[in-house]
């Protein structure tokens, strides 16, 4: 009833309102209802509130037909603007004040009711809050847009939804950047509904009551480091908090090894913020909250990468039972164990899914998937996921095109034939749906492998067979097999293991290559044959049958067993046709035939062949009547064994050939015979001689000086034996230049001597040469070499001194005293006066002495006493003697030898220095000969005639003796200073001045060996020279008083 009357009233008001709008509106006054406000929460009803003056407070207000004791009334929202009359009555019911309000639609506010939170649920593991509330959509008659404002602690979020005239539970998740355990989180919500057709002011609802997710720090015993054992992506910003008991203090918080600044969250909770976290170690990064020295708490944070997209996904089957998929995982996630990246293989067509057990540490991942019945096409999705993310890779394939069989097994070879075998092998797989292509590799010895392809229908775990023909007899073959799909090749299997098989023997394929040679008497014939190659022999040759036929009549038969490759038969006076047959266990070869007839030849010439380095080139003219070709025959000689005959046959159109043989050696001369073949027999056409490679002659010809004068030398040489030539001799080269014998000197051609002259003798018949225009009394070095196309031989050297002009000698170099008592110094008086023939002046048994110089000073720079050098030379009478040395040097020797001294940084004011000179009895210390090369530092002066004692090398010396071995010294020409001021100390018992030694030496006229270059026997005219008796003579003194200065 009430409801109906209300409706009627509303109707009346409406009428009033319309009128009111025409006639104006009334303004309230003091004590009257005022400040009317109307608010709707649901667009259907509104709540209007107003104020009244204090006078009317105790009365009752009639709002049209609504009566209320409050200053608010809930009434339907009017369709349009309308008038509202508020009558305030007294408590007794008397109308007190009536006030009319005009209500415009735009004055009605729309404020939704505050939402109510149904639940707030925390998920600590993900630091996520879940909020649920009802949208109260059912209170509205139609759908509306709603906005929700949610406040979480310090955040404010706006959420949009549509109201659909039903109550819908809305849910919203929020993930905190701080673990929810760290401190309490609060949530409240309000809403705003966007009613577009509502003209009045719209506003947010009130906030809902606050909901709270309490942090661990609110729990009385709550403590710990949060988040616990979490996985985050590399580069993330992470907040980690430490909740502790009340009253405790955190000393420090570390992330890994680094201490981080703490952010205080509450009295029991502090946090650190790790920015841009880098990848963890395998066991994660420890976060430690140190509360005291003995108390700590912690958590482990795993920082890694989301899985990379799998690369190179590839699937294949080896047996049509299982599909094997492989891929490369790309960048490692850095997460292991339970947090590792997991793979699954999903096949879209069948909907089948398998999870893959993969080894995290392997570079290549493998996953198996069963082959499904009646399914050829597979559409794979390789799913990959880890706690941080996921990825996938796709592959669509036809399995028959992805066949990769396993290596064939149980390979066996059978066959009792010389040319064919059968191979059998087993393939582990079900290949009935496809054809197979198998490849058989055949090899033997070191020959290259041959491949045979065999296509065959596939079977179910079957054995397959193939036959191979056209093999060589008696050959050990190696076989192996691999297989693939024939129609859609994908990959070869691995090779099977190798199986060996030797084919049976067959009769030799051809007769041997034969040659024959008649004995010089012509009564016997030696027959030679070459062994057949392995491929021709077809087995092991056991013997050769040699027969001699005369017009089909066998005259002689021989069976020669291996390994002979020749035999001799007696011919008597007849010629015959020789037949040679090679035999093995399987049979005989076709016969090779050759006639014994040797046609006469005349005027056989000998030509030279050309060395090719790797062979010998020979050529010949064409002989038109040689109808059946040519034979080149030669003989290899090795040491003492008789030479082995070899030959090579050429067709009749050939006129040259390069003969090669592994037996040819460079520098060895080979003789070839060229035979022509006619139907009637063989004819020797010519001989050819040659080298595979010409080398320089092994040695130079021996040569001697036949004659010498003051301006010429005549030399003569011998032939070189042919085996030493090592090539065709092309000529001789005689080099000469001024020079004295010097062991250290290079050969003339290497010396770079600008005065070097060379004579080239190309006339091989010439065996002597006279060298003219030479200087008198001058030492010359002569080098003679022979040469071939291979180069020059080593030289033979000769030192010759030309004769001198005697007038010069007598004028400028009078004869020097000749120590009569020295046998070694019994020179011929004057070469000019003596024998005209050249004499080698060699010292006859030289009585040596020995001087050992023990230097205690450090080695000093060598000093060449150029002051003492003089070109002047006195004439010395040469002594007859034979050339005892290979170098044939012609010298005039003087003994005792010169002992070259070493000047060890001679201090001018300390002439004696610390050199210790040990004199050894020169008579008794005859030393055995020592090799010249053992004293390389002795500078040898090898000249003829009288020479001043110059050019003394100042090399360090340890002179053992003046031994005959020191021939080089002995041969030193003439007269040399023999002084050592150091040793002239008469106080020294061992000094030359001591009685004994002095006496012994008296026969020589001067001390034999001393460590000095001072003249003991000064030149005749050198009156100012220091005397040996000058005790205490110093080196300095010597230089200071040098008369030539």
């Amino acid at each position: 009833m009430w409801k109906n009357s209300s409706l009627r009233c509303l109707f009346a008001i409406a009428i009033l309102c319309l009128r009111s709008l025409i006639y104006g509106q009334e303004i309230g006054s003091l004590g009257h209802p005022q400040n009317l406000k109307c608010v709707t929460h649901n667009l259907r009803k509104m709540i209007c509130t107003w104020d009244v003056s204090s006078k009317g407070r105790h009365g009752q207000t009639d709002i049209l037909c609504f009566k209320t004791k409050e200053k608010r009334v809930e009434i339907p929202v009017p369709e349009s603007s309308s008038m509202m009359t508020i009558t305030t009555n007294s408590i007794s019911g008397t109308a007190f004040v009536t006030k009319e309000f005009e209500i415009h639609k735009k004055d009605i506010s729309f404020v939704p009711l505050a939402p109510r939170i149904l639940s707030l649920t925390p998920d600590f593991s993900t630091s996520t809050l879940n909020l649920k509330w009802s949208d109260n959509g059912s209170v509205f008659l139609y759908g509306l847009d709603a906005f929700w404002q949610i406040q979480i602690l310090r955040k404010e979020v706006t959420y949009y939804s549509k109201l659909t005239h039903e109550d819908i539970i809305l849910s919203w998740n929020w993930t905190s950047d701080m673990p929810l355990e760290c401190t309490s989180h609060y949530v409240k919500i309000r809403c705003y509904i966007n009613v577009t057709q509502f003209v009045g002011p719209k506003d947010w609802s009130d906030w809902s009551p606050v909901e709270e997710v309490p942090g661990k720090d609110t729990e009385p015993n709550g403590s710990g480091v949060f988040p616990q054992d979490t996985v985050v992506a590399v580069g993330s910003d992470v907040t980690i908090c430490c909740v502790h008991a009340k009253g405790q203090q955190i000393q420090r918080m570390t992330y890994g090894r680094e201490i981080y600044p703490m952010i205080r969250l509450s009295s029991r909770s502090s946090a650190i913020r790790v920015l841009n976290a880098s990848a963890s170690d395998t066991s994660g990064t420890n976060v430690v909250c140190r509360l005291s020295e003995d108390d700590m708490d912690g958590t482990v944070l795993f920082v890694g990468y989301a899985p990379d997209t799998p690369q190179n996904l590839s699937c294949e089957t080896s047996n049509f039972l299982k599909i094997k998929c492989t891929w490369k995982p790309g960048r490692p996630s850095g997460l292991y164990g339970k947090r590792r990246t997991k793979y699954s293989l999903f096949e879209r067509i069948s909907g089948k899914n398998v999870s893959c057990e993969v080894n995290e540490m392997n570079r290549e991942r493998v996953c198996g998937f069963p082959v499904l019945a009646d399914q050829k096409t597979y559409d794979f999705v390789l799913g990959v996921s880890n706690p941080i993310g996921q990825a996938e890779s796709l592959l669509l394939l036809d399995l028959t095109q992805r066949v990769h069989p396993k290596a064939p097994e149980k390979l066996a070879v059978s066959g009792k034939s010389s040319t064919s075998v059968r191979l059998h092998w087993f393939l582990n797989g079900s290949f009935a749906e496809i054809r197979l292509l198998c490849q058989i590799e055949v090899s033997h010895g070191h020959s290259e492998q041959r491949l045979h392809n065999v296509s065959m229908p596939g079977g179910e775990f079957s054995t397959y067979t193939a036959q191979l023909n056209a093999l060589h007899a008696y050959t050990k073959y190696q076989f192996r097999v691999r297989c693939s799909a024939a129609d859609h090749f994908w990959r070869w299997s691995d090779w099977s293991r190798i199986e060996e098989h030797t084919t049976l023997e067959a009769p030799p394929a051809r007769g041997p290559d034969i040659w024959r040679e008649k004995s010089p008497s012509g009564k016997s014939l030696k027959i030679f044959w070459k062994p057949l190659s392995l491929s021709e022999a077809n087995g092991k040759i056991v013997s050769h049958e040699v027969s001699c036929y005369l017009l089909e009549t066998p005259l002689e038969y021989k069976e020669v067993t291996e390994p002979s490759n020749s035999t001799e038969i007696k011919l008597g006076k007849r010629d015959c046709v020789i037949s040679v047959v090679a035999k093995n266990h399987a049979g005989s070869s076709p016969p090779s035939r050759i006639t014994s007839v040797e046609l006469p030849s005349d005027n056989v010439k000998t030509d030279r062949a050309v060395a090719m380095g790797n062979g010998i080139y020979i050529s010949w003219s064409s002989y038109p009547n040689m109808t059946c070709g040519y034979i080149v025959k030669w003989c290899h000689s090795s040491g003492s064994e008789p030479c082995s005959v070899d030959w090579q046959k050429f067709p009749s159109n050939t006129t040259d050939a390069v003969i090669k043989s592994a037996l040819f050696r460079p520098g060895v001369r080979y003789n070839f015979s060229l035979y022509g073949c006619k139907s009637s027999g063989y004819q020797l056409l010519k001989n050819i001689t040659g080298y595979m490679k010409e080398l320089p002659p092994k040695r130079a010809p021996n040569f001697t000086v036949e004659e010498t004068s003051s301006d010429s030398i005549l030399v003569k040489w011998e032939d070189i034996p042919i085996e030493d030539c090592q090539g065709f001799l092309e000529g001789y080269r005689l080099s000469f230049a001024k020079g004295e014998k010097d062991a250290l000197k290079p050969t003339l051609s290497e010396s770079g001597n600008p005065e070097l002259k060379v004579k080239n003798i190309t006339d091989l018949t010439k065996k002597s040469l006279k060298i003219l225009d030479l200087q008198g009394k001058t030492s010359y070095q002569l080098d003679l070499q022979a040469y071939t196309a291979g180069g020059l031989s080593p030289p033979n050297s000769l030192y010759v001194v030309t004769k001198e002009d005697c007038k010069i000698k007598e004028t400028f170099y009078p004869e020097i005293p000749n120590p009569e008592n020295s046998k070694a110094l019994q020179f011929q008086k004057n070469i000019c006066e003596g024998n005209k023939t050249l004499k080698t002046l060699e010292m006859n048994p030289c009585t040596p002495n020995s001087v050992e110089v023990v230097e205690t000073r450090s080695a000093a720079p060598k000093i060449e006493d150029t002051e003492m050098m003089s070109p002047a030379a006195d004439t010395t009478v040469p002594e007859d003697g034979s050339d005892s040395e290979t170098e044939n040097h012609v010298v005039v020797s003087y003994c005792p030898p010169i002992i070259e001294e070493e000047i060890s940084n001679p201090p001018m004011d300390e002439p004696v220095g610390s050199s210790q000179v040990v004199y050894i009895d020169i008579q008794s210390m005859y030393q055995p000969q020592i090799k010249p090369e053992e004293e390389p530092e002795i500078d040898l002066v090898t000249t003829a005639g009288y020479k001043p004692q110059m050019q003394l090398p100042v090399s360090a010396l340890k002179i053992e003796s003046c031994s005959p071995a020191e021939e080089e010294l002995d041969k030193t020409t003439g007269y040399r200073p023999q002084a050592n001021t150091n040793t002239w100390n008469m106080d020294t018992p061992d000094s030359p001045g001591s009685a004994e030694s002095n006496n012994e030496n008296a026969s020589f006229g001067s001390p034999c060996s001393i460590n000095s270059r001072q003249f003991l026997l000064p030149p005749k005219d050198d009156e100012d020279s220091p005397k040996p008796s000058n005790v205490g003579w110093s080196f300095t003194h010597f230089f200071q008083n040098k008369p030539n200065d």
Binding site: D229, V287, Y336
Partner: protein, 195 residues
Amino acid sequence: MAAADNTSAALRRRDLCSRGIRLAGKMRSDVVDLLDTYVEQQGLDASASVAAVEGVPAAAVERWDEQTGTQRLLENLAAYRAFRALLAQMLEEQQEQLGEADAALGRALAAVLLQVSAFTYHLEELLRLESRGPPSEEGAEPPPAPHLSLFERKLRGLGVLRELAQWAVRSTRDLRQLAKPSPGSSSAASLAESP
């Protein structure tokens, strides 16, 4: 006859003790190495103090020299049985957490576990030489491991290895003590005797 048996048992016990001492020495050395590896691999501070591991008798004991041989063996056995279980657990956790990532640590752990098992068997043998034999393991299982965070498990592992290192030293001393012939009595009797 009885004297001969006693002599044989004494020899056997001495032999077991000396082999046990060698085993303990090797175990100690390996555990020390493993500790270094473990601390480094787990990113721990080598000086970190760790609470006593539940279920493991402490190696340090008061009045050690007053213990009887049997007491020593029983305490050793209890400790090594606990270590065996704990190391197996550590190995399992290692596998779970790291997979194949750090096989070296896993191998080292397995090796020490093997030695602990061998030493446990050795102790059981020694106890068998006594007439009493080793106590049953039933009911002596350590309590199931409480749910621990990974960090706590790392620390626990550290504690287990440290304690094991201590025990290896103590076991050596215990076995040396056991190997000493008891003056004035047969060596067989020296295990069970005394206060």
